[in-house]
């Protein structure tokens, strides 16, 4: 489709109009001209200018960009074009098209054609961003062109690879197709199971991507096929994700009839087969024949025969069972929370103690305590330990000081760990007083280790959660750490040493904790070096989480608000206690390695003393023997005690088809899951090897994938090629990998303090995809010229402006922009911003009066301010997790560190030694083509 001229009905001619950047259609006989293509013309001609001409005016309604070199590059992004024809439901289901890429398809025209189709696949919504909030991008084009199917339909027939299960593979050329942030919101490639694989017609019979994602949605049958494709095979599971408002809770099977396979111990699920008239079932994982339990067809509530097809576990991929006593080693434990509060001079001065106690006080009501069994204790520490004894029923509490920190003991056998409901009064009084009690404390130093041991002793018989708030480097007693920060090491090979644990205490203690079902959460506040890398070990192996507030100062209301919000959410979270997770899979597949916050207790069992919500785990899968079945099943079982005192099993079943076809393998790849897995892999490698190795490793993986793709899927084979081809569904992978390479966690730089790096690595390994992807590839909005509906309430809540590609080309001197990565929000103000804009948003007379830095936006009496506030609010709420991003105002000519920080989020730009996206692609191309070229 080099020119639309060939597609016109007879008597028509098309002419490219350079000033309007679109085709002018001329009826040759009458001389009549029109902008719209004549009726019989193909719909998408409008979007296909001749090579080299920019269709920038295609969205003249929205913005007009200056023409330029890069503009030409980004010009192809022109997606939401209302003139598109009939809607089609996205890429995955364009079956009628069947544009299989064939290795023989090398002609430029056809290649361009494919890209054309590829662009139209712009996306059904939902998926990655969860069911509750599919409107991450409200600006998505609603209408797509009907692909020009006829031309290629014959080819499809000739190839003889038809069949409804077939994935269609679309190849895109990365060099000509700029990344479009909207593609990240697309759902993963469709899972196409063979017919009759599932015995339930329910749409929830296969796991939702928010619970379970696989890097490949079609599992290769042999390991040689997998290694030929160079694709990673891994699962990304988030078994305990939070539910948004309006989402159905996980269905609960209450009758304790739990049908499990005798051999592989998997749970019955919608993918089993009933045989022998329904009296037995065949396990879908190991093909073992099992008896159906007698009570399976009995409705115990109404005491009458029930319908097994209506049972919840036969219709839902994610169910919870109430576990009978066989699944308990002891009666369900109550939830126990112990707060270790640092009250040393630094902590009090920063206002952390006051904020923390107030937050606990305010959230006492929200601590999960349905059966009034929850226990709570507060221990303060500086270089001594301060226990608080709260006899039930009274409102008095007495402080007991233990200054012998070498051999920690509990000063009193009772009343230190108290029942929340019974000691409510005393707790409230105490929490109100702690702040002033230590107000004059001038002791410097922290006995964190002994405090941990004390908390551990206190809860040993039960287990639970220790929440540590610490403002300084542990300096006394067990677990004391030295300040090992050395700026000379940064950026060198020795830097990874700073990211490893400095003291074995935190590892051995973590193991003890894991054994006694104690989980530790760390809240760190220091402005100086705190050795986050070492302290984060404890949450890492006890399935907690690390939260880091560098240079916390409660005098800044933004700091206090952020901490109070996140801390409150963590306290209020319903947690799973005493949990173990096991992932089972069909025969031939083995879980090879595990990434995330837990302790690996045996080859396939993950021990988690407490499971927080919205943590993700990555599991690498190995193909041990050839798979002969048409589909495989992965089953994640989480045996846990709810914080309401019930033993339960959560089972998440996911079925994926198998394939022996390389093109199907590529077309089923899920770029989001791949990136999540690589993020985990990169962090692991940066600890065991060097940071540089981890970057090289990730880059090499990408090069391998693209080379393998080129060799097997394109006509150029192993030879050099002018294109950089990858399948349509993986076209964002290079930019995501670039984002990962530029992430604070593993970026090449000599300026990143080890604490910040370690925290970022902790995030990279725990965030679920929904949070991780923006963390790697931030979102960038232009606010000063957003569409009129952005910032107003739409069908799915607040409408967000369309995201822009992450390049500073898009920054304008008079503009207002927003960049956010889920952890921070930057409001970028151009230096020529008109006073009216500054007045509307910040209530200040002019740009010069504006100050950069952390800020709170006031809601003003004008529409623009309200819309921007609504957008910021939406960004803070739209994702799962407890995080409450800070808002920074960045002035274009403001302080350099803040400006550079904001600019470092624009990952498609060149920064320092790090390449821009185009440079990255051309170095990729050189590597793929085997030429010597480096970046």
């Amino acid at each position: 489709m080099a020119s639309p001229a060939e597609q016109l009905p007879p008597g028509w001619a098309a002419e490219w109009d350079a000033t309007h950047q679109r085709y002018l259609f001329i009826e040759t006989t009458t001389g009549h001209t029109q902008w719209e293509p004549p009726a019989a013309g193909s719909a998408e001609t409008e979007n296909a200018p001749p090579a080299g001409v920019t269709p920038a005016g295609g969205h003249g309604k929205r913005r007009q960009y200056a023409a330029g070199q890069t503009q030409a590059y980004y010009g192809g992004e022109a997606a939401p074009d209302p003139a598109y024809g009939q809607a089609s439901a996205g890429l995955g289901v364009q079956q009628q098209g069947g544009q299989l890429f064939t290795p023989g398809l090398a002609a430029e025209g056809q290649f361009a054609n494919q890209q054309q189709i590829a662009q139209q696949g712009g996306g059904t919504q939902g998926g990655y961003y969860g069911q509750g909030e599919p409107e991450y991008l409200n600006q998505q084009p609603q209408q797509y062109g009907q692909p020009p199917v006829d031309a290629l339909a014959n080819q499809f027939g000739q190839m003889g690879v038809g069949g409804q299960k077939q994935f269609s593979l679309y190849t895109t050329n990365l060099l000509t197709l700029p990344p479009d942030p909207r593609d990240l919101a697309q759902p993963p490639p469709e899972i196409r199971l063979p017919p009759n694989a599932c015995i339930s017609p329910s749409p929830t019979a296969n796991a939702d991507p928010s619970y379970f994602r696989s890097t490949l949605n079609a599992i290769p049958t042999t390991s040689s096929l997998l290694s030929k494709s160079k694709m990673p095979l891994a699962l990304v599971i988030t078994p305990y994700r939070s539910l948004n408002e309006g989402e159905e809770p996980v269905p609960l099977v209450t009758d304790t009839v739990i049908a499990r396979c005798r051999r592989c111990r998997s749970y019955i699920n919608p993918y089993v087969q009933f045989i022998d008239g329904g009296s037995r079932w065949r396990c879908c994982l190991c093909s073992m024949t099992n008896e159906v339990p007698q009570l399976f067809d009995w409705d115990q509530v109404r005491n009458q025969p029930g319908d097994r097809w209506q049972r919840l576990e036969m219709n839902h991929s994610c169910v919870e069972y109430v576990a009978p006593t066989e699944y308990m080693v002891r009666p369900p434990q109550p939830a126990v929370y112990i707060f270790l509060i640092d009250v040393s001079h630094a902590a009090v001065q920063s206002g952390m103690v006051a904020t923390a106690t107030r937050t606990i006080l305010e959230n006492l009501e929200r601590i999960p305590d349905e059966g009034e069994r929850t226990k709570i204790s507060i221990i303060c520490y500086d270089t001594s330990l301060y226990f608080f004894s709260m006899p039930p029923g009274s409102t008095d509490s007495s402080m007991l000081v233990v200054s012998d920190i070498d051999d920690v003991f509990l000063p009193k056998p009772t009343d230190l760990l108290v029942n929340l409901a019974e000691a409510r009064g005393a707790l409230e009084v105490l929490l109100g007083r702690i702040g002033e009690m230590f107000q004059e404390n001038t002791i410097i130093g922290s006995a964190l280790g002994p405090a941990l041991q004390a908390g551990f002793k206190l809860m040993t018989p039960i287990g639970g959660k220790i929440i540590v708030l610490s403002s300084s480097l542990p300096s006394h007693g067990a677990g004391a750490l030295k300040n090992r920060e050395d700026n000379k090491l940064l950026g060198t090979a020795k830097e990874s040493g700073l990211l490893q644990a400095a003291s074995p205490f935190y590892k051995t203690f973590a193991i003890e904790c894991s054994r006694t079902q104690v989980s530790v959460d760390m809240f760190l506040f220091s402005s100086a070096y705190q050795d986050v890398a070492t302290l984060a070990c404890l949450p890492h192996y006890t399935s907690g989480q690390t939260y880091y507030y560098p240079a916390f100062n409660a005098a800044r209301s933004e700091d206090a608000l952020k901490f109070a919000h996140e801390f409150g959410e963590v306290i209020a979270q319903p947690i799973m206690l005493e949990a173990v997770i096991r992932v089972r899979a069909s025969r031939g597949l083995r879980m090879a390695s595990f990434h995330g916050n837990f302790f690996v207790r045996s080859t396939d069992l993950l021990a988690m003393p407490a499971v927080p919500q919205d943590q993700s785990y990555a599991i690498e899968v190995q193909i041990e023997e050839a798979i002969t079945i048409p589909f495989v099943v992965f089953q994640t079982a989480v045996l846990h005690t709810t914080c309401y005192g019930e033993r339960r099993i959560r089972v998440i079943t996911a079925a994926l088809p198998t394939t022996s076809n390389l093109s199907e393998l590529y077309s089923s790849a899920d770029q989001i899951a791949i990136t999540t897995f690589f993020a985990n892999k990169a962090v692991e490698r940066s600890l065991t090897h060097k940071l540089e190795d981890s970057r090289d490793f990730i880059l090499q993986k990408l090069v391998d994938i693209i080379s393998a793709y080129k060799a097997s899927m394109t006509s150029s084979g192993a030879g050099a090629s002018a294109q950089l081809a990858i399948s349509e569904n993986m076209k964002m992978l290079p930019v995501l990998i670039l984002g990962l390479l530029k992430n604070v966690g593993i970026r090449q730089s000599a300026q990143i303090p080890p604490d910040i790096r370690a925290y970022s690595q902790a995030l990279l390994t725990t965030l679920p995809s929904q949070l991780l992807i923006p963390y790697i590839y931030p979102t960038f909005y232009s606010l000063h010229n957003m569409p009129p509906e952005a910032g107003t309430i739409g069908e799915h809540g607040v409408i967000l402006p369309p995201p822009l590609p992450l390049t500073s080309e898009r920054l304008e001197r008079h503009g207002l922009f927003l960049i956010e990565d889920g952890q921070t929000i930057f409001l970028w103000v151009g230096r020529d911003a008109v006073p009216q804009l500054i007045q509307d948003v910040f209530e200040l007379p002019s740009y010069d009066a504006l100050r950069g830095g952390k800020a709170t936006l006031n809601l003003l009496e004008n529409q623009f301010s309200q819309r921007i506030n609504a957008i910021v609010q939406k960004i803070r709420e739209m994702r799962r997790g407890v995080y409450y991003p800070h808002l920074y105002i960045v002035k274009e000519d403001g302080e350099p560190p803040l400006r550079l920080w904001a600019l470092s989020m624009l990952i498609q730009d060149r920064a320092d030694v790090l390449p821009s996206y185009q440079q990255f692609l051309s170095s990729l191309k050189d590597k793929v083509n085997g030429a010597s070229g480096g970046y």
Binding site: K507, A510, I511, R515, Y541, S593, F594, F599, V600, R601, S602, T603, L605, E684
Partner: protein, 137 residues
């Protein structure tokens, strides 16, 4: 029986002891793989043996050095350096949190040491006999 004879008799016994130690390690590792033992107990158990094993090996090597058995000393030197380097990097103990990720490497190392002790066992035996024959002549 002279000095060299006694020395190699002692070395044979030590090599046999180390051999058994390695067999024990391998059995424990396969127990871990079969889930008969949890990683915490495994590491606690094995870590008791790591240093004694290294010290025993270093002791024989130094004995060879003192008594001027250059061949035997050079044979043991690489392993001694390997062990010393591990201790210097504080990487000689088994870490329960990482054990599943490093298990392959540990097994490889243990198998290698097993083979090495087996070879040195026969080598010392041969040397002992040679020394005894040389003496009796």
């Amino acid at each position: 029986m002279g000095g060299a004879g006694w020395l190699f008799l002692f070395a044979v016994l030590m090599a046999a002891g180390l051999l058994f130690c390695m067999v024990f390690f391998i059995i424990m590792f396969s127990d871990l793989e079969c889930d008969y033992i949890n990683p915490i107990d495994l590491c606690n158990k094995l870590n008791q043996f790591v240093l004694p094993e290294n010290i025993a090996h270093a002791f024989i090597t130094i004995l060879f050095l003192i008594s001027g058995q250059w061949g035997s000393f050079l044979l043991n030197l690489p392993l001694l350096a390997w062990n010393a380097n591990k201790i210097r990097n504080k990487a000689h103990m088994y870490d329960a949190t990482e054990i599943f990720r490093t298990l392959g490497g540990h097994k490889k190392e243990t198998f290698f040491k097993l083979g090495f002790y087996l070879i040195s066992f026969f080598f010392y035996l041969y040397k002992m006999i040679v020394a005894l024959i040389a003496e009796s002549e």
